[in-house]
């Protein structure tokens, strides 16, 4: 019985970490249709901001939940103003530009922090479920993911900003005609997406050893989750994260971690073959025209 409880936590944790990894990309790619290949680097920037802040004596939770998202959001705004805003609607060009950005950030982080592994330890001690020990920090990740999904749902569904943002993403011409400054809204949305990536990188940082190239490990999973989720931002994120998280953990636990990774990719291929538009319907929605 204890093992089942432990496994349940691990399953929930796997789903939650996929939600976190993918949330920023879901906004930037799912809503704004910017193929952000620098998504992984936005995440590790969040991690490095956290580590720096903690080393400067800031409380680790404040560093993770407040400082890192804000800092990465700022970086996101700069990136949007300098690069991304020229490229809206040009899917392939955003890919190339953000790939360049990802190389730039890797170089920058290497120059500042050196090409070595850095990290902080987890702030929550482990505890026992029956005979098993479990990482207490897993619960924090699950909690953050749940709060994040709830906050996104509330903002997108019930606030005026959410409404305007969704409207702008769907039909920027109509939104502009109604008197909204679409430029500003794009910028704000990109900043929110960046903040989410930064948050993800920050809360995952205590679990891993960060090197400047760590972002690469996240980017594939993030894209698979977002694409398989389909056009419904929240429902898609939750459904595909759940599906892939469960598949990955099931095979990791019963066979081996290698098979777990393979199973995730095979599941993604099969899923997209059967549901080419993602779990929640049409995969590609034309933004304008």
């Amino acid at each position: 019985m204890d093992l089942i409880a432990v496994m349940a936590v691990e399953f929930l944790y796997a789903v939650a970490s996929l939600v976190l990894i993918s949330a920023g990309l879901a906004v930037v790619f799912g809503m704004m249709r910017v193929i952000n290949l620098a998504h992984g680097e936005f995440m590790i920037l969040g991690g490095y901001v956290t580590i720096t802040a903690v080393n400067l004596g800031v409380n680790v939770f404040i560093a993770m939940v407040i400082i890192a998202p804000l800092a990465v959001a700022l970086i996101g705004v700069v990136v949007e103003r300098l690069v991304i805003r020229h490229l809206y609607g040009r899917l392939v060009d955003t890919m190339l530009a953000t790939w360049g950005l990802s190389l730039f950030f890797i170089g920058l982080v290497t120059v500042i922090f050196g090409n070595t592994t850095t990290g902080i330890s987890t702030p929550i001690p482990g505890f026992a479920i029956g005979d098993y020990r479990i990482n207490g920090y897993s619960f924090f990740i699950i909690l953050v993911a749940v709060l994040l999904l709830a906050a996104m749902a509330v903002i997108l569904r019930t606030t005026r900003f959410g409404l305007i943002a969704r409207g702008t993403m769907a039909r920027p011409d109509i939104a502009a005609a109604l008197g909204h400054e679409t430029e500003r809204i794009y910028m704000a949305t990109f900043a929110v997406g960046s903040a989410l990536s930064g948050l993800a990188g920050a809360v995952l940082a205590p679990l891993v050893g960060l090197v400047p190239g760590s972002g690469a490990a996240y980017i594939a999973k993030a894209f698979i989750t977002v694409i398989a989720g389909g056009p419904q931002l929240l429902a898609g994120l939750m459904s595909s994260a759940t599906f892939f998280g469960v598949v990955n953990q099931l095979f990791t636990f019963t066979i081996s971690p290698v098979i777990g990774e393979v199973a995730l990719l095979v599941a993604a291929v099969i899923l997209l073959r059967m549901l080419p538009r993602g779990i929640t319907g049409r995969f590609f929605r034309e933004r304008s025209s």
Partner: protein, 404 residues
């Protein structure tokens, strides 16, 4: 091709740079070095380069070798395997070096080994690696899996129990090492209850940690490699497992990874290497003092930096003994079973394999350092000895895959 004057001059210039050393005076000894001092492996390469610089400066300050100054020709391979073969060609053709030290990954060693062998330039590979290289032109002074695992397994089992779970990196180093672990676990009367392999980019170990608990071994041995795998040690401690099941590793700490973990995360992990900064011997204390004088502080020193330092020292001792830098004379001097005292202990050349007999220290991580519990003097490289005999077969030129 029509050749105008500009083309001609360009071509002549290129030709001139290709053969610039035709008239080099032989009043210096040239030592070639190829290391990744930038790029993703620079955490290994930079300290190795510093160690080589320190060794050569010390040799020169003491009057050089046989009255000649040692001059270093070094190339940064930028963690790019293609650059290794390019720079090896350059060292062979242009730079006219007497010896080459360098290479970090096994792939980089194999990229330059044949070039140097054909050119008849002696090659020192000073890195802990998977074993099995059998080539008269190369000398290797890093520990091989048998040297290390043979010592680590009984030590770790003695402090835990007989049921061992192995978690290894999924490439040749991890797979070969995992086999050696299984062999020595069986030899010591234990049982390997599970072996799991992890691709290098895996950084999620939650379900693995649950799986380990459901198998409930007495000991976990983890030849895990790289930044992503460092997460395992972190998550292991975060789950409180570090107080439950003893953990040993064959790779943690080679690049000073144990300084990235906090003291609580690392404490108690058992390792076995040739070097530890915490070795309290006159040779090591003296080495650290000289390093600090040259580079400010000693934090960069790690296992393979010391190996590189000792590689240069070994070569220098052989050149002194041979009285020349002629390759065959130097090899003959080394094959006499030449021995030096380095910061990590005694290094003795094993003539049969051109590997080294090394002191292996059994250690436990303690407050981000490696505390030496026991030193096993002069462990022979039994894995490579089982497949390689350069005395009987001097023309051998193979990297054997060691079957267990």
């Amino acid at each position: 091709m029509i050749m105008n004057r500009r083309h001609f001059i360009a071509a002549a210039g290129a030709a001139a740079t290709l053969f610039p050393i035709a008239g080099r005076a032989s009043d210096t000894i040239r030592l070639g070095s190829v290391l990744d001092t930038s790029g993703i492996f620079d955490a290994y390469g930079k300290p190795m380069d510093m160690a080589l610089g320190l060794a050569v400066n010390e040799i020169n300050a003491a009057g050089g070798l046989n009255g000649k100054e040692v001059e270093v020709v070094s190339y940064d391979t930028q963690s790019d395997m293609a650059l290794y073969s390019q720079y090896a060609q350059q060292l062979v053709r242009n730079d006219d070096v007497d010896v080459v030290h360098g290479g970090i990954l096994s792939a980089s060693r194999e990229a330059i080994r044949q070039t140097l062998r054909k050119a008849g330039i002696l090659y020192f590979y000073n890195v802990l690696y998977e074993g099995g290289v059998c080539d008269r032109n190369i000398f290797i002074n890093g520990v091989t899996p048998a040297q290390q695992v043979e010592a680590l397994v009984p030590f770790a089992m003695g402090r835990s129990g007989k049921k061992v779970h192995v978690l290894a990196a999924d490439y040749n180093y991890g797979q070969i090492t995992a086999k050696w672990i299984q062999k020595y676990v069986a030899d010591n009367g234990g049982e390997t209850v599970a072996v799991d392999f992890f691709p290098l980019e895996v950084s999620e170990f939650g379900s693995t940690i649950a799986r380990i608990q459901s198998i409930d071994p007495d000991l976990v041995i983890a030849p895990l490699v790289g930044g992503a795998h460092l997460s395992f040690f972190r998550q292991w401690a975060a789950a409180g497992m570090n107080e439950r099941i003893p953990l040993a590793s064959t790779s943690l700490g080679v690049g000073n990874e144990h300084r990235v973990l906090t003291a609580d995360e690392g404490n108690g992990i058992m390792v076995a290497y040739h070097y530890s900064q915490e070795l309290d011997t006159p040779a090591n204390n003296d080495f650290k003092a000289r390093w600090a004088q040259a580079y400010g502080d000693t934090s960069a020193i790690h296992e393979i930096a010391v190996s590189n330092y000792q590689g240069v020292l070994t070569w220098a001792a052989a050149v002194r003994r041979a009285g020349s830098t002629n390759r065959d004379d130097v090899i003959a001097a080394l094959e006499e079973g030449l021995s030096i005292e380095g910061p990590g202990g005694t290094v003795t050349i094993d003539p049969q394999t051109h590997h080294a007999k090394l002191d292996v220290h059994l250690m436990i991580l303690e407050n981000q350092g490696m505390t030496v519990i026991e030193t096993l003097p002069q462990r022979p490289p039994v894995d490579t000895q089982a497949v390689c005999d350069l005395g009987a077969n001097p023309d051998d030129n193979t990297q054997y895959e060691i079957r267990i």
